[in-house]
Amino acid sequence: MSKHHVTTSINGEPVEFLCETQQTMLDTLRDVLGLTGSKEGCASGDCGACTIICDGRIVCSCLMLGVEAEGKSITTIEGIAQGDHLHPVQQKFLEHAALQCGFCTPGFIVAAKALLDENPNPTETEARYWLAGNLCRCTGYDKIIRAVMDTAAEMRGAAAR
């Protein structure tokens, strides 16, 4: 089977790759590009561990084909921090101990960042429903939601200054 040549942008940088027809964006990120931060939890779009941002929307990369990245702008967990400067949501996850095994964490971080980009002042309910597509089995979500609400407050405060 012949591969497809794709040109795209990932985490702000131009990227070219070859992928097979049936390879999902998740497979492509992990096995072709070596970006293993996005995780496979189910490969059917139910757990959110593979969450990426594609042209401004969060998507499950397991539900997208690698070839569909052509011409798009993709953000993965690897692009959330800037060098060794953590994004506020990453910092707050650490402070609030909002992770235990850490497997769902990349998906949550990307999804939470997308939430706060769109809605800087979510209620707890809005945050819970936005993140309902990200499964966590370790934390019961309590500290995750606290971290997200605290991040929102901090980012609003920083924006006001």
Partner: protein
């Protein structure tokens, strides 16, 4: 040394965990994240039948497919004779484990591995699996536990005879064993009871549902030296099991622990590693394997489903005088359900004069059951705590009061034999009674339930090392894979002992060649046992530091004190010396005798049990049957919280799993014995919008056997939720749900029946 009651500066604080940045940036390497040059992919061919004889396996077509490098099946593994060995987290029969990893002769459940293939890509593996021709003789199957116990049930194993029954049976059975515990005389007890409550309860199998599927990368060298990179709850267990299953020397295997994406007991054994190594041996290349989510559900061990009957007899004043519990647990395809601990835990928090518990371990055509967070106890407590709630209602007694009245305390003799000493059950109930939640009013239509739980917690073998680097910073090495933040607690205990700040200690988990043997991460044992080893190693390092300071000052070691991370002369009569920091001593390590380092291995005893009490408020939508958790509080005695955030996290996570078990999670089978819902869409775990904040209240009565007073905490919190939710539903709509999960269709049906609409 015991530090309980001393002035602690690190223990009890909440520093950022050492592996935290890697995890929030996606850098941490989990089981499927590793690659090796020349790596092949491996996949498993699985039985489509719930029960079948394997007549033949023909891999010739698959082997001809370009890109395919090898196929393995049972003939590539040694045929192991039955060997009981208590390793990992439950009685482990290596013959059964081998046959579970790769079927021999019979496929015993849908999803049972019958062959495996290695090829240059995942896509070619998938194609090759289609080309492997397996001829089956389909056999009748059985899944439900009572159906499997029936005389006419299809028998899974011709050589399985029910143990612990007299006279010895001559006919093979699906009942692997009968378990019996007795205290006093229940018949007499029921005769003198003034009130009796009975109930029949059923639970469905549920999966641990860790978000990370099983994955590994294994390499079998031409000289027989192997490397295994996998996510597991115990890389020493992986090494040991793989050695056994493949017939190789343990020291020829180096197992490196990947970061692990959840286990909860389900990763305390192996599935893929033996297959990957066998494929690697045949191909001479490293082989990477990972399960799909569907494979995780179909072919890795969930916990038992069960059927139970419970009967309680009491006096009108609430004193329970008799309790009887019959429990039947599914073991899956091979014997070994958690029936023993289930039988022991249900009544462990009560002081009752007459108790009889009868249990059955029953095989059936589903995946072999694996450990799941306090295995056996949540199921047993569901029945007991619901029955107790019914009893309290019948007597008009408050549910906390009835538990206090009958609660276990020091001197209570359990029905499984030992007498409780120093336990925190009543303290837990007291804290629940005094909680803001318990005191808060309910809104109309809401219901409140409370339930309690008990788990033993274990100690066991653990190794840890402390190394002082030349600049005085410290590396702490743990033998325990870190699932929930134990690197943090271990590092903190080392820092506390050395009296330095937590940031000066880096904690890592070492591979099997680099640290002493360590038992699995499970049984709520790591902070207790590995923490004990790490603390002892740090104490030995302090002794060494004092000796080195003495040498530098040319005085005797007993004239040196260690305080605040520095050496001080013990008194002015010793001489006038400026304090020496860790860095200053470390700089002179070579001259004063060599590297400053210590490794300690223990077989920790004295773990001490844990108790939990959970309060749950619910609202039931009578139209849809949906139950919403409005408020949830989990009280637990934790001994001493080393890192309170991760202790709270264990409690919140366990509670959430219990809520899922209570309300939605179950294996659904079709008419052919195949699982209908092997995915997260229809196997419905709680999501963020299903739950409120979960308040964790920590009761700290120190465990005298641990240097900082810690008790295991991870498992207890999954025990109370099912009954807490069930009792809350009872309170809200006046109906007792006796079958888990209490999902909307079931609640609706119960409402219909109650209204006479059925």
């Amino acid at each position: 040394m015991n530090y309980v009651g001393t002035d602690l500066r690190v223990v009890g604080t909440r520093p950022v965990r050492p592996d935290g940045v890697d995890k929030v940036t996606g850098r941490a390497q989990f089981g499927a994240d590793m690659v090796m040059p020349g790596m092949l992919w491996g996949k498993v061919k699985r039985s489509p039948h719930a029960h079948a004889r394997i007549v033949s396996i023909d891999a010739s077509k698959a082997l001809k497919l370009p890109g395919v490098r090898a196929v393995v099946s049972a003939e590539d593994f040694p045929d192991i004779l039955s060997e009981e060995a208590f390793v990992g987290e439950g009685p482990m029969n290596f013959r059964d484990l081998s046959r579970n990893c790769m079927a021999r002769g019979k496929a015993l459940y849908e999803g049972h591995a019958v062959a495996a293939v290695a090829a240059i890509s995942q896509a070619i593996c998938d194609e090759a699996l289609e080309l492997i021709e397996v001829k089956y003789e389909v056999l009748p199957y059985v899944i439900d536990v009572e159906a499997a116990m029936a005389d006419d049930a299809p028998v899974l194993h011709d050589d399985l005879f029910t143990a612990n029954v007299e006279p010895k049976p001559t006919k093979p059975s699906n009942i692997a064993k009968r378990v019996y515990f007795n205290k006093g005389n229940v018949e007499a007890g029921f005769k003198e009871s003034e009130v009796i409550v009975e109930g029949r309860y059923t639970t469905e199998p549920v999966h641990q549902a860790y978000i990370e599927p099983h994955a590994c990368l294994c390499s079998y060298g031409a000289d027989g030296q192997c490397t295994v990179f996998s996510s597991s709850q115990g890389h020493f267990m992986v090494r040991s099991y793989v050695a056994k299953l493949l017939g190789i020397d343990i020291s020829n295997i180096r197992a490196t622990p990947a970061e692990i994406g959840g286990g909860f007991g389900g990763k305390t054994l192996v599935y893929l590693e033996p297959l990957a190594l066998a494929l690697s041996k045949k191909t001479g290349r490293p082989v990477k394997m990972q399960m799909t989510r569907e494979e995780v559900f179909r072919a890795s061990g969930p916990t038992s489903g069960a059927t139970m009957e419970v009967k309680l007899g009491a006096k009108k004043d609430g004193t329970i005088v008799a309790a009887k519990h019959v429990l039947k647990y599914q073991a899956g395809a091979f014997p070994g359900s958690p029936i023993q601990p289930g039988c022991m835990c249900g009544f462990a928090m009560y002081d009752l004069p007459n108790i009889e518990v009868i249990g059955y371990d029953v095989v059936s055509n589903r995946p072999k059951v694996a450990a799941y967070r306090s295995p056996g106890a949540p199921i047993a407590s569901f029945a007991v705590e619901c029955a107790l709630d019914d009893l309290a209602r019948k007597l008009g007694i408050d549910p906390i009061e009835i538990r206090e009245k009958n609660g276990a305390k020091t001197g209570t003799k359990t029905h499984y034999g030992p007498t409780h000493q120093n336990i925190g059950y009543l303290a837990t109930l007291e804290a629940a009674k005094n909680s803001a939640h318990w005191k808060s009013p309910l809104k109309p239509g809401q219901g409140r339930g409370i339930a309690t739980g008990f788990w033993f917690n274990i100690g066991g073998e653990s190794s840890a090392a402390v190394h002082v680097a030349e600049d005085g910073t410290v590396v702490a090495v743990s033998g325990s894979p870190d699932i929930g933040g134990s690197r943090a607690s271990i590092g903190m205990m080392v820092a506390e002992t050395l009296q330095i700040s937590a940031e000066k200690v880096r904690t890592i988990v070492a591979d099997t060649a680099s640290i002493g043997f360590t038992h699995v991460t499970g049984g709520s044992r790591v902070t207790f046992a590995t923490g004990m080893a790490a603390t002892m190693a740090a104490e030995k390092v302090v002794d060494q530091l004092k000796q080195r300071a003495a040498m530098i000052w040319d005085i005797t070691p007993d004239a040196v004190d260690w305080r605040d991370g520095q050496a001080f002369p013990a008194g002015t009569n010793v001489g006038t010396f400026e304090p020496l920091s860790l860095a200053e001593i470390a700089l002179k390590a070579a001259r004063t005798g060599g590297p400053v380092t210590s490794e300690v291995s223990v077989n920790a005893q004295g773990a001490g049990p844990g108790f939990g009490a959970h309060i749950c408020d619910v609202e039931v939508d009578k139209e849809t049957g949906q139950v919403t958790i409005i408020r949830y509080t989990a009280v637990q005695d934790v001994g001493r919280a080393i890192h309170p955030s991760y202790v709270e996290g264990q409690i919140q996570g366990g509670a959430a799993q219990g809520i899922g078990w209570a309300l939605n999670e179950e294996y659904i089978y079709d008419k052919d014995g195949k699982m209908d819902n092997p995915g997260f869409l229809d196997y419905r775990c709680p999501v963020a919008s299903d739950l409120p904040m979960i308040e964790a209240i920590l009761v700290e009565v120190p465990n005298p056997r641990h240097p900082f007073g810690a008790r295991g905490v991870g498992e207890v919190p999954i025990i109370p939720p099912m009954a807490a939710v069930g009792n809350a539903i009872r309170d809200a709509i006046g109906l007792r749900m006796t079958a888990l999960p209490m999902s909307p269709p079931k609640v609706r049906k119960a409402l219909d029946v109650a209204n006479g609409d059925d």
